[in-house]
């Protein structure tokens, strides 16, 4: 069972004193509350991952396969020859320390092995030992060490205390992408069956049923029908979306979390209302029913397999292009990998908004447009009737999700949309937003419930910035464009800044959207009475 989470004032006492022993001589201590449960055999077996067995990180014996050192070193040699970035990142760090205090996990935990430079050094030291001459000859003198059972445990513990958010990379004078080192670390441990169940479960679900939560087609439909009832209650308008419809112009893909977890569900209601108001010729899919990709947190190959269904479904349905919902890592995958993994999608057209005629040149290759780009273009062209005063009871700030900000440069569109639908908008301090945004603290599949100590420590820097604008401006709403954020920031706010609520951006849009034939709005999408409408 998980340990009890300390109270916020206790967790906020962060000890930055490093251990007295050198880092190589300080053995890893696997602490409860800081790691996720081991992957279940059935979930690894479902996707033919190696060494499927039940295991627990808390136990001494991790039930590794025989010859595991060889497996890791062979894989390392293979990736070093395949990925030039990985080779470069193993070689070029000068340990200047610019990244050291930029990591939310280091700031929140004080553990030196969460300094990005040291986290990477855990792997570099092994690289030196087996792949460089100085390391082979001089060993520890050259910063090299052998790959032992304890080293492997240390890798696992700290590569699952990194959310691949890439904030450290922004400050690295060499541009080393520490996320790629963590990705390799996870890829190697994956070869030994050292996955967590919080990642392996969704991967297995997604492979078998199309989405992380394992929602069956009729479950997806029933969930959306539930939203439609609420939309009708709020607006008086009956919406009839379509599913798996061949010949639709646009396929819409969003994270399954939007369909089954508050407050993502209100974001999903927002999509439904916007598309209805536009009369958009689009369809949902119960097959390509997941925008997110937890495979991305296991191996490159798995991420590619899970991603393939998006283009496959676009082709089957004969759509022209694709709109994607509000999600973070989903967009790192779509923007940077999808077209070369599973494309070219030359059966699709370059996305062109049927409402404004705008051609999305930036999506020429992927054929997939982020919904805030689509909506920002609508607003810019005056195609939406908006009443931002309906959001006047909210004082809103915006959390850039790591992957959309640093992974695709989507900085202005969400802000433009939010400012168009809300009158009260306040930015958090500039070193905590945009390219320098702080992670929610629970990305890359770390958003389980057994590792709350880790999550709240990692979430502390972001929460602290929210607290600042709450105290200064009375901010009470934290908007974002990521399904993981909607789930994790909710927990982090309840813990650190309890009077701040979390919402997706299209929830705010739909609340302000004046729809044709709607009744007077007296409630928001959460069915809460709007201020001033109490008597209605």
């Amino acid at each position: 069972m998980a340990t009890k989470l300390p109270k916020p004032d206790e967790l906020a006492k962060i000890d930055f004193t490093p251990p007295e022993t050198g880092w190589m001589d300080t053995p890893v201590e696997i602490k409860p509350g800081m790691f996720c449960w081991g992957a279940k055999a059935k979930n690894l077996r479902a996707v033919e991952f190696p060494n499927a067995r039940d295991w627990s990180p808390a136990e001494e014996d991790w039930k590794l396969p025989g010859e595991w050192e060889g497996t890791v070193l062979e894989a390392m040699a293979d990736r070093l020859s395949k990925y030039r970035s990985f080779k470069l990142f193993m070689d070029i760090c000068v340990r200047c320390g610019a990244c050291a205090d930029k990591c939310h996990f280091f700031i929140g935990s004080g553990d030196p092995k969460n300094m990005p430079v040291l986290r990477a050094e855990l792997m570099r030291s092994v690289y030196r030992k087996y792949f460089t001459t100085p390391g082979k000859v001089l060993g520890k003198l050259a910063g090299a060490r052998e790959l032992t059972y304890d080293v492997l445990k240390e890798w696992w513990y700290y590569f699952y205390q990194c959310t691949e958010c890439r904030r450290c990379s922004v400050f690295c004078p060499y541009g080393i992408d520490t996320a790629e080192i963590t990705m390799m670390g996870r890829e190697f441990t994956n070869l030994l069956g050292l996955n967590t169940d919080w990642i392996a479960g969704p991967v297995a679900n997604c492979y078998m049923k199309g989405n992380h939560l394992g929602l069956e087609p009729h479950t997806i439909k029933s969930s959306i029908e539930f939203f439609l009832d609420d939309i009708e209650t709020v607006t008086g308008i009956k919406i009839e979306p379509t599913f798996n419809r061949k010949g639709a112009e646009i396929l819409f893909v969003t994270p399954s979390g939007d369909l089954f977890a508050d407050p993502g569900t209100y974001t999903a209601m927002g999509y439904l209302m916007l598309f209805h108001e536009l009369g958009l010729d689009y369809t949902w899919s119960t097959y390509a029913s997941e925008g997110g990709n937890f495979g991305y947190f296991t191996s490159n190959e798995m991420a590619k397999r899970l991603n393939s269904k998006i283009y496959a479904e676009a082709k089957r349905l004969g759509v022209k292009w694709i709109i994607g919902g509000e999600c973070g890592h989903m967009w790192r995958v779509l923007n940077q990998y999808m077209d070369t993994w599973n494309g070219p999608a030359d059966f699709l057209e370059v996305p062109k908004s049927p409402i404004t005629g705008t051609v999305f040149e930036n999506a020429k290759s992927t054929k997939m447009v982020h919904i805030t780009e689509f909506t920002a273009d609508l607003i810019k062209n005056g195609k939406l009737k908006l009443d931002p005063s309906r959001n006047d009871h909210l004082k809103v700030t915006y959390h850039d999700s790591c992957n959309t900000a640093r992974g695709m440069g989507l900085l202005e569109e969400p802000r433009y949309v939010i400012k168009s639908v809300c009158n009260n908008f306040y930015e958090m301090p500039e070193n905590t937003i945009r390219e320098q945004t702080f992670c929610c603290g629970s990305g890359t599949g770390l958003n389980a419930s057994e590792n709350m100590d880790l999550r709240m420590k990692g979430g502390f820097p972001r929460a602290n910035a929210v607290k600042y604008v709450r105290d200064k401006h009375g901010v009470n709403m934290l908007a974002n464009i990521c399904a993981i954020d909607r789930a994790t920031l909710k927990a982090s706010m309840e813990y650190w800044v309890p009077d701040v609520t979390v919402c997706g951006t299209h929830e705010l849009v739909a609340n302000a959207l004046v729809m044709k034939g709607e009744k007077e709005r007296t409630q928001d999408l959460r069915l809460e009475t709007l201020p001033g409408k109490e008597g209605n």
Binding site: M1, W37, T219, F226, D262
Partner: protein, 111 residues
């Protein structure tokens, strides 16, 4: 694999104490699990458990809290169709705690 002793048998459970094989569940087990948390199940508790089990049978997943709230409101009356009422019944959370007693897997929320 952790186990839980029930009626002299060892039942497989996960790291959080949710039973692994849903077929192992029987009504007495709900009382047993609730008893371990110091809760005595009343007909009001059973309304929730029965709804969860039926929903799971149909959709292979535990429902969202708001679906549960709406349904309980329909069956038990509007004054009980709210989260507060459900938390009074299940202080550990209507999703997590009630699912455990109902013999369903631990709800995952958003992943």
């Amino acid at each position: 694999m952790p186990t839980m002793e029930f009626k002299g048998k060892q039942i497989e459970v996960d790291d959080d104490g949710y039973i692994i094989n849903l077929d192992d569940w029987e009504k007495d087990m709900a009382d047993h699990l609730a008893g371990m948390d110091g809760i005595t199940l009343t007909p009001a508790h059973w309304e929730v458990i029965d709804f969860l089990r039926n929903y799971y049978k149909q959709y292979q997943i535990a429902p969202m809290i708001k679906i549960l709230v709406k349904e309980i409101g329909k069956v038990m009356g509007p004054e009980k169709g709210n989260t507060k009422y459900l938390y009074e019944l299940y202080p550990g959370g209507p999703a997590k705690q009630a699912c455990k007693y109902a013999g369903l897997p631990k709800p995952t929320g958003c992943v």
